[in-house]
Amino acid sequence: MLQLLNITFSCSDPERLAGFWATLLDYEGAPAGDSWIATDPRGEGARLRFNRMEKSETIEVPIHIDVNVPDREAELDRILQLGGQLVETKSHSIGDLSETWTVMRDPEGNGFCIQSPPNTPPHRYIGNVTFSCAEPRQLAAFWTEALGWPDEEIDQGFLQQLRDAGVAERDLSSLHAIRPPNGGRPRFLFQRREKSRPESYPIHLDFRTDDREAEVERLERAGAAVVETKEGQNLTFTILRDPDGNPFCVG
């Protein structure tokens, strides 16, 4: 099985970007060679890594982060002070269901969302890693197998509410989430959304595993494709692509 090690940003100024995200999430930033790492002092949240690496321009990012915060409006102002930018605050409603979130950009232009869902804990944390994809259920099935996370069935009552509001069958399958079995975070959220297909992804995921070679074979059978295996100083890792073309690393 894979375990999430890092959410990795390709950036032109790792120290600056690590500082932004560490402050935003109440993490601690530290240099690691040419890179920077930001970790949750509570030991709960996913680790962020900032590498000085090429990235392509995107219109719609293939992978982004959703940050849950106690107070979205206050957070918006705070993020602007930290050097982030606003895209827009969006609300959507379908029948009686509704949700509001604010789309922002970090200092290097990476889009992310902030939201304050009900019963949010009193601290900031990464709620979702969100993938834009053509078929949310299919891509979620791959990641369920890769991570050994149980498939989260969508509540039938919820689907019926959407149907009653006039949503067609195809749009009912436009969202799917999987989450760690122990209620850990972040969830992986898959939404049907056209995305840019950049040469170099601005964000990718790094995983660790006990037996890299066996794991890579298993992932290939599940639908991943191997790009290449690289020998670092202390670590050998393999770059793969998931069935939708999103790159990830297994070390």
Binding site: I59, Q85, E88, S93, I94, R170, D171, R192, E194
Partner: protein
């Protein structure tokens, strides 16, 4: 110059889709061979043409229609009764600016938007909206093609965005062109990743006085020619705009 003649839908069932759109917009409709036409009896708004033609599945449609209605909630119910479906109602807010749109689908899944700005007396097609990489540049191409003025967006709106914390490239994320006499529809361009289907579910058909001269002019402006077809009554050329959107000139 081009003048917009039709918004053309590729359909599995032209009769059914034309019925939906005619009822929604208060248009009359008539069969034209295996196609259907829906026209505004008042002669004000753009004619819709429904062809039986292959279309590819899309996630984000490259071109869609924005419909203005007197009452968005009532129109939502009406669309559902006519056989459409709901995607979602979306609101956005940037500082003081804000707006609400209901996204729906016609019976063949074509996405479109409903809005209800003040003083809207009846349902009509307000925008033809293009998802594109470069709104300003694509807008300029279409202004040139249609002989419409090439006017920048009011700088005070950009300043409101800046004051709310919006940065580049989001400030220049949209552009708008319209005829100088204010006639409808407007052409709206927003920066949005779009599907690039083999066969577009919707495209625009234009008329012109001198097709060959016009095509030369459009190619100089950045369009590319796909092919010229000879119909029984009409010769027309299929082109693509600088971002690959197909359109016909007859």
């Amino acid at each position: 110059m081009l003048s917009l003649q039709h918004v053309t839908f590729s359909c599995d069932d032209p009769g059914r889709v034309s019925e939906f759109w005619a009822a929604l917009l208060g248009y009359g409709r008539a069969a034209a061979g295996s196609s259907w036409l829906a026209t505004d009896p008042r002669g004000e708004d753009v004619t819709l043409l429904f062809n039986k033609m292959a279309k590819s599945e899309t996630i984000e449609v490259p071109i869609h229609l924005d419909i203005n209605v007197p009452d968005r909630e009532a129109a939502l119910d009406r669309v559902l009764q006519l056989g459409g479906s709901l995607v979602e109602t979306k609101s956005y807010k940037i500082g003081e600016l804000g707006d609400s749109t209901t996204i729906m689908r016609d019976p063949e899944g074509n996405g479109f938007c409903l809005e209800d700005p003040p003083n809207t007396e009846r349902a009509h097609i307000w925008n033809i909206t293009f998802a594109c990489a470069k709104p300003r540049e694509l807008g300029r191409f279409w202004a040139l093609a249609l002989g419409w003025p090439d006017v920048d967006i009011d700088e005070s709106i950009f300043q409101k965005f800046r004051d709310a914390g919006v940065g580049e490239p989001d400030i220049s994320g949209f552009h708008l062109v319209r005829a100088s006499n204010g006639s409808r529809p407007r052409f709206y361009f927003h920066r949005r990743e779009k599907s690039r289907p083999e066969s577009y579910p919707m495209h625009l058909g234009f008329a012109t006085d001198d097709r060959e001269a016009e095509i030369e002019r459009l190619v100089q402006a950045g369009a590319s020619v796909v092919e010229t077809k000879q119909g029984t009554n009409l010769t027309f050329t299929i082109l693509r705009d600088p971002e690959g959107n197909p359109f016909c000139v007859g």
